[in-house]
Symmetry: C2
Subunit: 365 residues, 2 copies
């Protein structure tokens, strides 16, 4: 009987086959000294459910009861157990957000946009960072789904198959944010990095540059940078020479600056014919600008420099840095708005939003 028990035996069948009436002896298992809803109810002389209602939907309780309950809550220092509430209602107010990195300003600003929007609706953000590792992303997604969130947000449109399957089958709204380009699992907000690269190509061509280098940092992991390079390369095809430099190092916040700083003299020495460098991000570009400043290298006379992201510092360098501004905070806000709409049972204006970008031409090109 043991091995073949099978299907129907939902062990949920807790038969209360006690000999007597039904009252089994109680064992207590409480480990925390925390005040419970039942204690508040006892304190206020009401039923537990009344406390629940007074807390979650005050209008559904008479003012008299409500004030008695509020007093008891206050006096006992009651803090509701969210896990119990979530388990009972099958609803959490925690929204997981998965990003590749926190040491990249870009994600931080998107996150801020998300947090503002989400908190305004009484939700909490649960942040996970993958370190640009899609395997880690899969593990994170699985764990986070265990909290039965009402929705989820994840950076990027590229995931391992199992991640996509997991998210698709979770039966909750999902927003993939950052780039556009392929069909999302559910909803998508971002910009086309391919088009951004192409836009920079047009700009550099228009200013007369014909021997252009793209400088990336660990491009293997950063596929959005690869997309920008692809856009650049295709747009330049037949019109200018392009070369890709993939640099290593520079982990952590501000690390990109050091990479740009180190790259500039290297590249100029090895490929002296270069007339323009498009860096994968503004941090690297700023590092290169600072290096040029220290070494007395003329920008853009000797070499033009451009970046990507539109960080505030781009407007403060001498010369100012040509860059592409991505509306990061907007991405966060829009992504959150879409998700919250769906969570609330409404249909967002659109499920796929391209927020675009702006090329800010500075003195560095």
């Amino acid at each position: 009987m043991r091995g073949t028990r099978a299907r129907g035996a939902t062990a949920d069948e807790a038969k209360q086959a006690t000999g007597e009436a039904c009252a089994a002896p109680r064992r207590t298992r409480r480990r925390r000294a925390a005040v419970t809803l039942n204690e508040v109810a006892a304190g206020a002389g009401v039923a537990p459910i009344a406390v629940s209602r007074a807390l979650n939907n005050p209008a559904s309780v008479s003012p008299a009861l409500r004030s008695r309950i509020e007093q008891a809550v206050e006096q006992l220092g009651y803090v509701p157990n969210r896990m119990a509430g979530a388990l009972a209602s099958a609803r959490t107010r925690v929204i997981p957000v998965i990003v590749p990195s926190l040491s990249n300003v870009v994600f931080v600003e998107v996150i801020e946009g998300i947090q503002e929007a989400v908190e305004a609706q009484g939700y909490q953000m649960l942040l996970g960072s993958t370190g640009y590792d899609l395997g880690h992303e899969a593990a994170l997604a699985a764990t986070l789904l265990g909290w039965a969130p009402p929705g989820m947000m994840v950076a990027g449109l590229r995931h391992e198959t199992r991640t996509a399957t997991l998210l698709r089958n979770a039966g909750i709204p999902i927003v993939e944010f950052m780039e556009t380009g392929r069909a999302p699992i559910d909803m998508n907000v971002g910009l086309s990095h391919v088009r951004a690269g192409a836009a920079m190509a047009e700009h550099l061509l228009a200013r007369g540059y014909r021997r252009i280098g793209f400088v990336g940092l660990r491009m293997k992991d950063d596929y959005r940078a690869r997309q920008r390079y692809d856009g650049l390369r295709r747009q330049l095809a037949g019109k200018a020479a392009v070369v890709l430099f993939d640099r290593e190092g520079g982990a952590g916040q501000g690390g990109g600056q050091q990479v740009g700083w180190d790259a500039l003299p290297d590249l100029l020495a090895i490929t002296p014919a270069l007339d323009a460098l498009f860096f994968a991000n503004d941090e690297m570009a700023v590092g290169a600008l600072l290096r040029a400043r220290r070494d007395g290298t003329d920008v853009p006379g000797r070499i033009a420099i451009a970046g990507f992201n539109g960080l505030p510092i781009a407007a403060l360098t001498t010369p100012t840095l040509t860059t592409i501004v991505s509306p990061r905070k907007q991405i966060g806000r829009e992504a959150a708005a879409m998700l919250l709409a769906r969570i609330a049972g409404r249909e967002p204006t659109t499920r796929r939003l391209d927020v675009g970008f702006t090329l800010e031409a500075g003195g560095s090109t």
Copy 2:
């Protein structure tokens, strides 16, 4: 009766009528189609508890059972419900971390240190940001405690009384990280911002500066910057003149750069006798350096400039920026190590750790 019911009329109402003595008719309330542990148990032909054990402590189950269970888990795509587990065990593996802001690199690096350490032990970080609002901090702390975390981390030693009370009474280990100086609620990791200010005072005195300005950004909120100013002021007392400038604006990432950029010409115009400026952070100092560069203002000839934090860019400017390096990642790691030790029932080496700082003298002073 129909109109007032509302709420959650659900789908799968599998009624399992039982006709026994005490067994009341069962109502089912499942709302998600998610696979449960009971279903896995049924699938594997074992008791639910065996599944629980196979997942949480594989060694406690025979290999035969384990592989049957693992197969069922795999096949059904089972994702454990963390809320149920947490409720039953009164244990979560989520550690809340409260910081004032994410748009400040400094906190991001501390957070990274925390995340690395915490994830390595199988815990998850739940991030909350207060926007430098201690009222918001109190609300966040209360909500986060509702998840019955095994411990908690919060930036700073200053909180509203109710926050401190709440945390103290939570009966879990708490680490306050960032600054040292006063008695913590439980544990503390950080550095003395007063001493950091004093160290800069000594440096500026040694280099011959006697008319020194401290430039802060929204100092009302940033009490750590106030501490640095206090340290500076006291150390300079009787030896040099000090003046405090409290600037507004510059919200968000990189906003400080703009503030420094704007401040420099203002301050030089209004208080031309100044010979040195100590900025509350490197971002502002870098903004000022870039402005000096553009305007042709001699640094340090006309005005010396110093910052605080030790961001990588400080080494790349011309001249290089004098700054105080704070070991941010170390703060995060140490704070996490302390907390994890206590969670594991061990006593950390110390409950109060001063990680110190290093003054990096550059060409800007």
